[in-house]
């Protein structure tokens, strides 16, 4: 969805782009907790009964789409204009050029920043606690209420779960980054060794 919004921001007409920018502005500007309350309690007041889980998914998903659109817009705009010109010059349509030429390059550049956003979103799910979603933190609390002496253990377990999730996710993305790497395209030298350190 972030990619979609970024595409609208960069390539659509001024009106649609303005809507996409407004979307991004709203969901990046409002605190996550406020968004959760808006989507859960706010919508309920107008008769739109979202269950807590749906409200949380929408609020956090839309919020992340705002952040991701920034990541992808930056990546798309970093692809030189000449790539688009060359693509159009052989007769590709605008959308063909975007999908076959611009995006394959932009998405590769976006992976590191995107893995950052992935970590944030995973951790932000704990905020859904506030509207009563049965997420990890709530389970820890159930345990703690019944056995107070397990409090430390329960929360350490929560921490470990998130460490595991973010590590696993980022490892997969790192793997992906190396799999799709193109000779001379990525902006890094020999893996793990910077020029300065040598």
């Amino acid at each position: 969805m972030g990619i979609f919004i970024a595409l609208l921001q960069v390539y659509s007409n001024r009106f649609i782009a303005a809507v996409a920018f407004a979307w991004e502005w709203f969901f990046r500007g409002v605190p996550a907790l406020v968004l959760l309350f808006l989507f859960f309690f706010g919508t309920a007041q107008f008769g739109l009964e979202l269950d807590a889980f749906t409200a949380a998914v929408l609020a956090l998903g839309f919020r992340s789409s705002g952040y991701q659109s920034q990541i992808f817009r930056g990546a798309i705009q970093s692809i030189p204009e000449g790539q688009m010109l060359a693509a159009r010059s052989i007769g590709l349509s605008r959308w063909q050029a975007i999908f076959h030429v611009v995006l394959p390059q932009a998405l590769r550049l976006a992976i590191p920043a995107w893995s950052n956003e992935f970590s944030s979103v995973i951790k932000d799910t704990t905020l859904a606690y506030a509207i009563g979603v049965n997420e990890v933190l709530r389970h820890a609390r159930y345990i703690m209420v019944r056995h107070y002496d397990l409090a430390m253990l329960a929360y350490i377990t929560v921490a470990l779960i998130f460490l595991g999730l973010t590590y696993g996710g980022n490892w997969l993305l790192g793997l992906l980054e190396r799999r799709v790497a193109i000779p001379g395209f990525q902006m890094k030298g020999v893996r793990g060794r910077s020029v300065i350190a040598r």
């Binding site: 790539q83 010109l85 060359a86 010059s89 052989i90 007769g91 390059q105 193109i182 000779p183 001379g184």
Partner: protein, 254 residues
């Protein structure tokens, strides 16, 4: 008109303005099938803009362009179809950096001409061989020298079997020792009868290959004619002055 029937590319009274500056002020010329036209002139006189207006990478403000009887500038013309018939070679190559040489040449065949993969690969390999890079099909642009990249981009244009190829200063971004290999390919194409419009400062190329040279300055064509006329007996004093300067700069044309 008789000339119109044999001309494959007709440019008529093109105008283009960027803000206050009028870059093209009424450019007209014709290119016959198999002809090589070289456009020369000081930088900033609209030569690149002119090429881009021909296939509408830059939309002209007014004026018309015909390719083989079809009006390129007509609003109802399917511009993607037309562009597939006009090769374009850029100054800085603009190869698709995420694709191998083979895939660069093959992309248009697969996505624009919708050929099957086997046929597209055959054509792409044939065109790579034509520019002398059959052994580099699997290389990515970053693994190629500038001269090799430019040759791949010529192969990319050739693969579409274009009616004309537009070259926008194809050797200006190259190290001197790499210019030769690109010019060689272009000379070969010209001799094989490819229709070409070349913006270039390579006077040697212009003199030996061009059927006609167009000297452009400040958005208008100052003089056009066969190389002997412009080099030996230019009609316009500005042409003589420019050619003298450029010869001093680049050395005697070979």
């Amino acid at each position: 008109m008789v000339s119109r029937s044999e001309a494959i590319l007709i440019v008529e009274d093109l105008h283009k303005r960027y803000g206050r500056e009028e870059v093209l002020r009424g450019i007209s010329f014709e290119v016959r099938r198999g002809e090589t036209k070289v456009i020369i002139g000081p930088s900033g006189t609209g030569k690149s803009t002119l090429l881009r207006c021909i296939n509408r990478l830059t939309p002209p403000d007014s004026g018309r362009v015909w390719l083989d009887g079809v009006e390129v500038t007509h609003p109802k013309t399917d511009i993607n179809k037309i562009r597939a018939q006009i090769g374009f070679v850029f100054q800085d190559f603009n190869l698709f950096t995420h694709l191998t040489a083979l895939d660069n040449v093959r992309l248009g065949l697969l996505k624009v001409k919708r050929l099957d993969k086997k046929r597209a690969t055959e054509i792409a390999l044939r065109e790579l061989a034509r520019v002398g890079l059959a052994d580099k099909a699997r290389a990515y642009p970053a693994e190629l020298s500038g001269g090799q990249q430019q040759r791949v981009s010529i192969a990319r244009a050739l693969a579409m079997n274009p009616k004309v190829i537009l070259f926008d200063e194809p050797t200006s971004a190259l190290d001197p020792e790499l210019i030769g290999e690109v010019l060689e390919v272009m000379i070969k194409l010209a001799r094989e009868g490819m229709t070409m419009v070349v913006v270039s400062h390579e006077m040697g190329f212009a003199r030996s290959v061009a059927d006609e040279i167009i000297f452009m300055e400040k958005g208008v064509i100052v003089e056009q004619g066969p190389p002997e006329q412009l080099f030996v007996a230019p009609k316009h004093p500005r042409t003589a002055e420019f050619l003298r300067k450029i010869t001093e700069l680049y050395g005697e044309a070979g």
